[in-house]
Amino acid sequence: MSSAFLAGLRFEARMMRRDGAIWFALLALAGVALFALAMGASRVVSQQAAIAGARADETQRLTNLQKTLAQLQQGETQGKPAPEPPPFRDPRNAAFMGGGPAAAVAALAPGPLALVATGQSDLLPPAVRVTTGSKDSFLFADEIDNPANLMSGATDLAFVVVFVYPLVILAMAFNLLAGEREQGTLSMSLASARRPAAALAGKLTARVAAPILATLLAVAAGVWIFAGWERLATPGFAVLLIVVLLYGLFWAALAAAVDGLGRSSAFNALTLIGAWVAITMILPAAINSIAGFAHPAPSRTDMVLAARAASIDADRARDASLARYAQEHGDAEKPAGGPQEATLRRLATQEAAFQRVEAIVAEHDAQLARQRDMADRLGYLSPAYLTYQALADIAGSGETRYRAFLDRIRAFHLDWREFFLSRAKAGAALTAQDYAAMPKFTQADEELVGPAPAGLAGPLIGVALPMLILAALAMRGYRRCRI
């Protein structure tokens, strides 16, 4: 590192130490980051409580069913049968129990760094009650929240990093050349260094390193305080620091590139504010609108209507079958059959609804995937968009983890149906052994989280590449600067 660079850096650092406004800005930035992490930690506690509540409810339900089952079996063995419960409350009835009373809780525990970003976690419930029914009957349940709260969004680190952090960097770096030129000190600065561009780069480094380091330190302190020191040693935390660093460097390079054009402080300020508005607000909004316009999200109501149509069709098929039977047998006599026939009819209806809903969900998911792919591709236009998504992925509240969760539910749903429906079709009553052998949605969360957020290389390159181009432009501007 050249001595001119170090001299510029030291000189600027000394100047900054004596500027109260800079201390205020840095402390405010660190304070906001810490506050956001504290809010994130409280959100994680709420999610954990919701999951614990759902699991406690599951345990309670299963305990009650097993207790009733034991009473019924005891009555039978003692020759004093207990009153027969209705089928929908009968713990032996496989068709009904798998459809609700014994439903399994599939939970997505908050990731180790969940406090970093709210992502989709406020919209998607952390626990789902899987039943033998089609997905429309359980997968789209929502957590209760005031819609205006959801619309406003939460204070989280992702928000602070994406929106507030760049403004502090811009405020520090927007007028390095312009400010000195306007104060009349630029000629002295250039004359006093053997390599003026290196000296200016040193000054710029001092200015942008302060907010970047303040944020990195606040993030480390916040994660340590609110999530535990062991999180600091995870790959996810290392990726978090890299994302924050790269995003900060992008804005620093942008500020330096604009400053390097050699225009006034006012021009720089207005241009950079315009760029901030465009990159953090207008481009993400436009990306979402364009992707939504090109690949509109399909209506979920199609799914429930298909399930209902399947039910109607099953009814009609049954009516036709009864009519044929009456015609063939010459009178209105109905075919023989008891509760098992009713169960089989019910299962046939469920199966028809299941098949149709599966097909529609797959079609919807494909359309949504097209929309998201387009948004992801357009996202490369805005480093803010990429950073926001990367932070959500690091927190485990982004699409990657939620999609993995849905895949797990899909597989589990099949196991669950097979377990209950095979018994229901065979007319077998559920036993205590069956209750013990029911499929469980295990600690799949740990499998889902993975050692480090994958798939972030693209977004990181998407931020790093424009940063490098802007840095090159800035160096060119500094080398050519005129008094």
Binding site: D57, V164, T301, A309, R316, S397
Partner: protein, 492 residues
Amino acid sequence: MSDLALAPLATTAPAKSRWRVVRAVAAKEWLELFRDRRLVWLCAFVVALMLAALAFGYVENARILRERDSAARADRELWVGQSAKNPHAAAHFGQYAFKPLSPLALADPGVDAYVGSAVWLEAHKQNETQFKQARDGGVGARLGSLSLAFILQTIAPLIVILMGFASFSGERESGTLKQLLSVGARPRDILAGKAMALIGAIFALLAPAFFGAALALVFFVDRERLSLADQFLRLAALGAAYAAYLAGFAFLALGVSALARNSRAALVTLLAFWLANSFLAPRLATDAARAFAPTPTWQDFRARIAQDKAKTFGHDESHPAFVAFRDETLKKYGVSRVEDLPVSFRGLSLRKDDEAGYAIFDRHFGALQSAFDRQDALRAAPGFLFPLLALRPISMAFAGVDSRSQFDFATAAEAHRRDIQNQVSDNIIHFAHDKQYVAGPELWRKIASFAYRAPGAVFALGYSALPIIGLLAWLALACAFALFAARRLRPV
């Protein structure tokens, strides 16, 4: 400037002369705004952005409207297409109530993406609205989408700040303020002139957007279902609210510009306020609202309802409440056996159980909405300082996309559910003489489909008192601040 320089004013100049000063200052400001090519291009860009947002809103809303209309028709066909069955089984099959789209959602989508579009109206249970569009949007979608409201709420104030931050400080720096004051122009008149120019520019900015929105309404509103006049009334209220919001920013910019040491300090101060208003205040106010007026989790909410519902008998014929009702009914009809009743006891018990359920649902859903209202009120309370907190609820209310409009829809849907239950139970009471009783398509057709008529603009006004007061207070405060700053105006 030229006509000011012609005639220096006395300190007690008549009102006519003062008006001349105001007009001259306004004309000069206009001229300067027009001469600043950067501002003109910026305004043109924002106007183009607003029109593009309106076009996106129009296309998206037309698509959603088509989808919901077609879903409502399909659901009706499914309902009337049911085969002969016990009416209570049909009640379990239920209907779907689809939320009609408010036409002004094309300008402000409000909470629509966060509330879901359909409610399942089934027996025994009041359900929440399902299928939130926001769930499908992915993480990036949380950064918002282009809408007229988004641009007017966040970008437009920035434009006003850029137009106004150097109004006084720029003149002071160039020395023209001293000249202006030396000819006897009163600071208050200069302020009035500059405010007039800025507010005129705001109207010029708003006009294309609102003209476009009015035009879109003419094409979008289905006049058989909605009153176009009511929609125009709502649009006028929106226009007034946005004008007050942006006029407040104009006065704030002028006040800060008059007091600031220089234009740079004025710009930094105003940008800091804009950032706090647009980004920090809504999130912090939401965090505070959540903390001070918490809402239950879904699990808790449903558990509490289940706890109360356990006191009713449902289909449990061994429940003490069922036994008591049966005894009471037998006594009322003077018979000793259910079989001897002239009406169906099953129908009577279904109706009785439903009625007990209605009270429970009213209590719990009402309490939940009250909690939402408290949160909304807490969020809007600092609206006189951070006007976006006051403007947003007004905008959503008049666009028909706030949580109160949603509650009104949910209440209407629940009323329809109860109507279905009551008609089905009445049919069983009067016609079900045995357990094999089935009803046919004539009953399904007799039960109407859900038809919701959204309330008028007065409804929005009724629930917007607090934010309206907040927005007016913001305008008054900003105006008072500008007058205060003008009184302290320094020529150098």
